[in-house]
């Protein structure tokens, strides 16, 4: 995906990270990254999609130099991330999930002042940059209030401002919408896509286990599972991976037994999602129409149907098709 002669913004080749846990006979070696390789073009918005424990965060931490890999190469605009770490750290902005990444006893402005100093920003230039970011993220009115009074979404906005403080070329966004309410989640997604990527042309590596987020934002996506990069394609290319398949989506009140559906001829897989008393069944079949009446009959015998749709396969369907694992699963990491 990178034109010849263009230096990749980020280049990872065969990155291996082993974690040694326990002692003596209980000692385990966990292969968190297994020869992970990927290349990001300058200005690309790239997604790393995988379930919990797949190795997404480990790879981000290796790129941010927080972890030293056991093998492999990581380059930032051609420079080795570990041999030339000062240069590379200056070009990377990091955002991790979770609220506890800032000083809650300080205001947003004081937090940003401190982190700006770490990147060599001082004086008037620092204040101008902080004012700009606070305004951009809609925080100017609460800028002098302590963070302990902020909501999770507002704290995440401050984290985003911190990642952008030194105007880095690459942003590593690790689960940036995790745990946020839908309104803030929407804001952050929109901000990443429109402001950071389209307007500011930042190179972004986004990790997520929300398929909709990856589908909406990313130009290319790497599927990662058990520390291995399984495949790298655009969302559209992925969806073409499972041709001649349709997804029948049935929403109903109650929780029908899906084992009867699984056994129906012509159905390949049934996935269930239960939320607020409503079950959403995603039934994958080569064609939806021939199984439709039997599905309706089976579900109606156990629950009240609210709606039925025939849909194109989503990234989650592709992920399951390729890896055999659901994105909502907790895969753990591969033991040696």
């Amino acid at each position: 995906m990178i034109s010849q002669g263009v230096v990749p913004a980020l280049y990872c080749e065969n990155v291996v990270k082993l974690f040694r846990r326990g002692r003596g006979l209980k000692k385990k070696v966990i292969r968190a990254l297994d020869n992970a390789s990927l290349t990001l073009a300058p200005g690309e918005l790239f997604g790393l999609l995988g379930p919990n424990g797949a190795g997404k965060t480990t790879l981000v931490r290796c790129i941010a130099t927080l972890l030293i890999p056991d093998a492999g190469t990581i380059r930032i605009f051609g420079s080795d991330a570990f041999k030339d770490s000062l240069f590379c750290r200056q070009r990377i902005g990091l955002l991790t999930s979770g609220e506890r990444t800032l000083y809650w006893k300080l205001s947003a402005r004081d937090n940003l002042r401190f982190f700006a100093a770490l990147y060599g920003l001082t004086g008037k230039k620092r204040e101008q940059r902080i004012d700009y970011l606070l305004e951009l993220l809609g925080l100017e009115e609460v800028a002098n209030e302590r963070l302990e009074r902020y909501s999770s979404g507002m704290k995440q906005k401050v984290s985003l401002a911190r990642a952008m403080l030194h105007d880095p070329d690459i942003l590593l966004l690790d689960e940036p919408t995790l745990g946020l309410d839908p309104q803030f989640g929407r804001f952050i997604r929109q901000f990443i896509k429109e402001e950071l990527n389209r307007r500011q042309k930042k190179t972004i590596l986004l990790t997520t286990h929300y398929m909709d987020e990856a589908d909406e934002l990313c130009q290319r996506i790497a599927f990662i599972n058990k520390g291995r990069i399984i495949d790298i394609k655009s969302p559209a290319q992925y969806k073409r991976e499972i041709p001649h398949k349709e997804v029948l989506q049935v929403r109903c009140l109650g929780q029908p037994d899906t084992s009867r559906l699984q056994n129906l001829a012509g159905i390949e897989r049934v996935q269930t999602d239960f939320n607020d008393g409503i079950t959403t069944l995603r039934i994958v079949a080569p064609r939806a129409e021939p199984v439709l009446s039997e599905v309706i009959e089976t579900v109606r015998a156990q629950a009240r149907i609210l709606g039925i749709d025939v849909k194109e396969p989503t990234l989650e369907d592709v992920f399951i098709y390729v890896t055999g694992t659901s994105l909502t699963a907790d895969t753990g990491q591969g033991e040696e």
Partner: protein
């Protein structure tokens, strides 16, 4: 380039100092505690001394130390140890605090070396403990007959600075160690008692041949003996040169060892993948 880099690092030290102070002052109850601490600190020593010898002075004590003023002896020990233990608690514990706050990873991921942050924390700790010690010195001067003159203060200040340079080297290594072990309180308490046992903070180490021997390895011993000599026995010039040379030598060893141990341990935590864990 090098001077610009130094300038940048100095500004980080300043930013860390301001941040640490702001966080401390955001807990009003801590300010109240530290305001009455110098008074609370002094009373147990006074009562203990009176219970043991009936007054502030003891002949047996004079034979061991040259001064019969037990209370002044102990209070000077406690005053100097305030510096030492605040370095252990403040600097040694400071990176653990950053991991609890979830900010440690962001410090390590920045172009600033965590050692620069530790220097900022050291400066804040030094300022804070200096204010405490100043109050303690005032109490000693007003109520326990220890006279502070410029001729006494200057060599004492020199000794304190030399003592603390080495001790901050030790605290920096300890800070690196805490990144690895993820537990601080037990270790600091243990170290405190090791120092109480093997250096003359509360008693003259000469009472036991083993403590007397081991105490020679601890800079605090050398500093305390010289400071008490100056303050209680008016020995301004006696052994000062020898003590300064010994403390300076220990400073070099402790600073170099502290630096390399910290760098090694910080790298080890990045290799083990335990930077953000607590």
């Amino acid at each position: 380039m090098a001077s610009r880099r130094l300038n940048t690092e100095l500004r980080v030290v300043g930013a860390e100092f301001v941040k640490t102070m702001r966080i401390w002052f955001s807990y009003p109850i801590m300010i109240a505690f530290w305001a009455i601490f110098p008074l609370l600190w002094v009373l147990p020593y006074v009562f203990q001394g009176k219970a043991l010898v009936g007054s502030g002075s003891s002949e047996a004590f004079r034979q061991l130390t040259g001064s019969g003023n037990y209370l002044a002896f102990v209070l000077i020990g406690a005053m100097i140890s305030t510096f030492v233990f605040s370095a252990l608690w403040g600097v040694g514990n400071s990176l653990r605090e950053e991991t609890y706050w979830g900010t440690m990873e962001y410090i390590i991921a920045s172009p600033t070396h965590p050692l620069v942050i530790l220097i900022g924390k050291t400066l804040a700790e030094w300022t804070w403990s200096s204010v405490m010690v100043l109050f303690q010195a005032l109490i000693i001067a007003l109520f326990f007959g220890v006279h502070f003159t410029l001729a006494k203060i200057l060599p004492v200040l020199l000794l304190v600075v030399l003592l603390m340079i080495g001790f901050y080297g030790f605290a920096i290594a300890f800070a690196g160690f805490t990144l690895l072990i993820k537990e601080v309180h037990g270790w600091v308490h243990t170290l405190e008692w090791v120092f109480f046992l093997f250096s003359p903070i509360r008693y003259p180490v000469e009472v036991n041949p083993i403590t007397a021997l081991v105490s020679n390895l601890i800079p605090l011993t050398w500093a305390l003996v010289a400071i008490r000599g100056i303050m209680l026995l008016n020995k301004t010039e006696v052994n000062l040169y020898q003590t300064v040379v010994i403390l300076a030598g220990m400073d070099v060893i402790l600073l170099v060892a502290g630096y390399f141990l910290f760098v090694y341990l910080e790298k080890k935590t990045r290799r083990d993948g335990t930077v953000g864990m607590h």
